[in-house]
């Protein structure tokens, strides 16, 4: 591959929001040699690209610590190339791929493969979490050390939680040797069993087996006890219930190294959406209730939620057209996540742009322990330029993603990504 030539880019008059450095002001940003070289007023240096960002937000590129790009194994649903294109269209300059591919990412060469495909796609920066256990089977430790050397930023058996408590304890002890985060999809299978939606009113009348909130909360509570024992950094993926919020609140109050993320769908959709067996609303953890959404929003307001993550989960239309019991879980959303967060959080008065962007930039970067999510001089120039008020209508047919399983189809939202720069290079530009 040819060496990229450094491009000089001047972004003028934008509202620079860099929560890491407590900056929220109108400023120009000058990018050269892949990094931010100057920040100031009325910069006039010559540049290859001059972008007028008047009235726009200029922020560190977004970081999504939970995506499924389906490669290897399900390339008909998504590839790292298509997922990467979708990511930059959504303003994301870094993503973390989950290891529940086929075969799973449970050893170092698989980690290297994902990185290589990411470099070839040349859109967003691709990080990987490796599996905690071999084949994600929950039985034997995977080679966390060698995967760490290959660049894995954490470990998870995402898609299912590690069920056996002794196994999880061992995994957390072992992972502490490499100072990587251990990340959990909290779900006690003995409680969740064959459930396909929240165990509430609609599950009752639709005759669908339910997943009680306890299934999530029991495992989260258990894991917090293991954190107390081991001190290992622990991250709870996509928390969805008021009970989980309470557990996180208590763990943080105790000063434990526990972080968590929430998704757009657990902020905007409830179990009531599944009144008619629409499988685009089938997701795991399932959509819960307004009471749960309110608790999560309160937690965001209180600063308890560390990251906003899309859990972008592409599936074939033919699979989503199956019976609700059989159809796979998950929804795509990386290309419309930012305006959805705006709708859920800013429009609802839960937090402001700076607080919201913190959960999309430096705070997730901290979870995976990478030097990103900041736009100080000398930082790598991962930048997103957002028109915060531009209204547009979500149309999955226009997604860069290969899949269309999007429950927000037809929603009119506010907030549009205009440019995404990765290491100073314009990797996405809105065509209007």
């Amino acid at each position: 591959m040819a060496q990229p030539v450094p491009q000089k880019t001047l972004i003028k008059n934008g509202r620079l929001i860099d929560p890491r450095n407590n900056i929220d002001q109108i400023a120009d940003l000058y990018i050269d040699d892949f990094q931010v070289t100057r920040i100031g007023k009325k910069l006039t240096d010559s540049a290859d690209h001059i972008i007028d960002a008047s009235g726009k937000i200029v922020a560190p590129g977004l970081i999504d610590i939970h995506v499924h790009f389906r490669e290897p194994g399900d390339e008909e649903e998504e590839t790292i190339a298509s997922g990467s294109a979708a990511a930059v269209a959504g303003g994301y300059t870094s993503v973390v791929c989950m290891p529940n591919t086929n075969p799973p990412i449970d050893e170092a060469t698989a980690v290297e493969y994902i990185h290589r495909m990411g470099r070839q796609a040349r859109k967003t920066f691709i990080h990987v979490m490796g599996a905690i256990t071999k084949d994600r089977a929950g039985q034997e430790l995977a080679e966390m050390g060698l995967m760490t050397q290959a660049g894995a930023v954490g470990f998870t058996d995402d898609g299912c939680g590690v069920q056996d408590t002794a196994m999880m304890l061992r995994a957390m002890k072992y992972a502490s040797m490499f100072n990587r985060v251990v990340s959990q999809h909290c779900e006690d299978r003995s409680l969740a069993k064959d459930g396909v939606m929240n165990a509430g009113y609609n599950a009752t009348v639709l005759g669908l087996p339910g997943i009680d909130p306890l299934a999530e909360e029991m495992m989260l509570w258990r894991d917090v006890q293991l954190v107390k024992k081991t001190g290992t950094r622990y991250h709870a993926q996509h928390i969805s219930t008021a009970g989980s919020v309470k557990i996180i609140r208590e763990a943080k109050a105790e000063g434990l190294p526990v972080t968590c993320e929430v998704t757009p769908h657990h902020l905007l959709l409830t179990e009531e959406a599944i009144a008619d067996y629409d499988t685009n609303y089938k997701v795991n953890p399932p959509l819960r209730t307004q009471k749960d959404i309110d608790a999560i929003k309160q937690a965001i307001h209180d600063g308890l939620i560390d990251a906003l993550a899309s859990d972008h989960a592409p599936h074939l239309q033919s699979e989503k057209e199956l019976e609700f019991l059989t159809a796979p879980c998950g929804m795509v959303g990386i290309e419309c996540a930012l305006p959805l967060y705006r709708k859920a959080l800013i429009d609802a008065g839960v937090c402001d742009w700076s607080q919201m962007l913190a959960m999309l930039t430096w705070r997730p970067a901290q979870i995976i322990d990478v030097e990103k999510g900041s736009l100080a001089v000398g930082d790598r120039a991962d930048v997103v330029i957002i028109d915060p008020d531009a209204a547009w209508t979500i149309d999955a047919a226009k997604f860069y993603s290969k899949s269309r399983n999007c429950p927000y189809q037809g929603w009119t939202v506010k907030g549009k990504v205009l440019y995404t720069l990765v290491a100073g290079e314009i990797r996405f530009q809105d065509k209007g």
């Binding site: 599950a203 669908l208 339910g210 199956l322 609700f324």
Partner: protein
Amino acid sequence: MSKSKKIQWTRKHLIGISDLSREEIEFILDTAQGFEKFSTRSIKKVPTLRGKVVVNMFFEDSTRTRNSFTLAASRLSADVIEFTKKSSSVSKGETLIDTAQNLEAMGIDIVVIRHNAGGAPKLLSRSINACVVNAGDGFHEHPTQALLDVYTIRQERGSLDGLKIGIVGDIAHSRVARSDIYAMTKLGAEVTLIGPPTLMPASVKDLPVNVSYSLDDVIEDLDVINMLRIQFERMGGNPFPSVREYSHYFGLTADRIKRAKSDIIVMHPGPINRGLEIESEVADGPNSVILKQVANGLAVRMAVLFLVNQAAVSEGRRN
């Protein structure tokens, strides 16, 4: 018997009782009443659905419901195709929609579907043009069973208004219970669900019913008791410790029924587990309407096939 208000029947699918108004339910029952007498005639056929094709798509074992639909369709002079397949749990391969669209390409008019997945009939109704009649889907609904249940009660008592009806057993995994709850409450009855908490659905408190964990506490008040079949294949785990203990608390024994009203109506959707949820002496006793339910099922299903076809035909005329 009350004659229902004149309504225009416009539904070409029957997916669930939850969709229906009281007037629509009564309209089906009145229509069924018109078909009831055919069973006693020497020539039992009418030409109503002559030239029409009814497909029985059964993805789950069933004897009586399928036979009842087959016979109902035959009496209306329809051609009947039997399609039986164990539904697969794999997500790749020929889908339900593929299967149905293939059948539809051969020119079918009505699909009667039984499926282990709740929502399968709804899915089907969205993807084909033929009429869809739900013959039971997962734990969701079994509308024709509920219709024949309320038909039978109405036959015995004239009306359901103000009747106290108990439904006993595995409510959580019962599509019959769900459809019954809607049909009975819409027709003015008061429904009490009776069974152990482990067999109650997650959100039972939000349903328009009473709940009791003790059959003995409520049996004296009941006008009708509907004993659900204990379906071991559906329950999973062990929601009660033993058959013996279940029967002890929730079985309709000869002893227990002595404490009920003398004219209590005893119902069961069948097939019966004799000695488990109901003792033979009660099932075959004077209060039992179990065989009348079966006979009425035929009339109700004839009415349903007749009505959905009529709606499809008039929709075709409109288009």
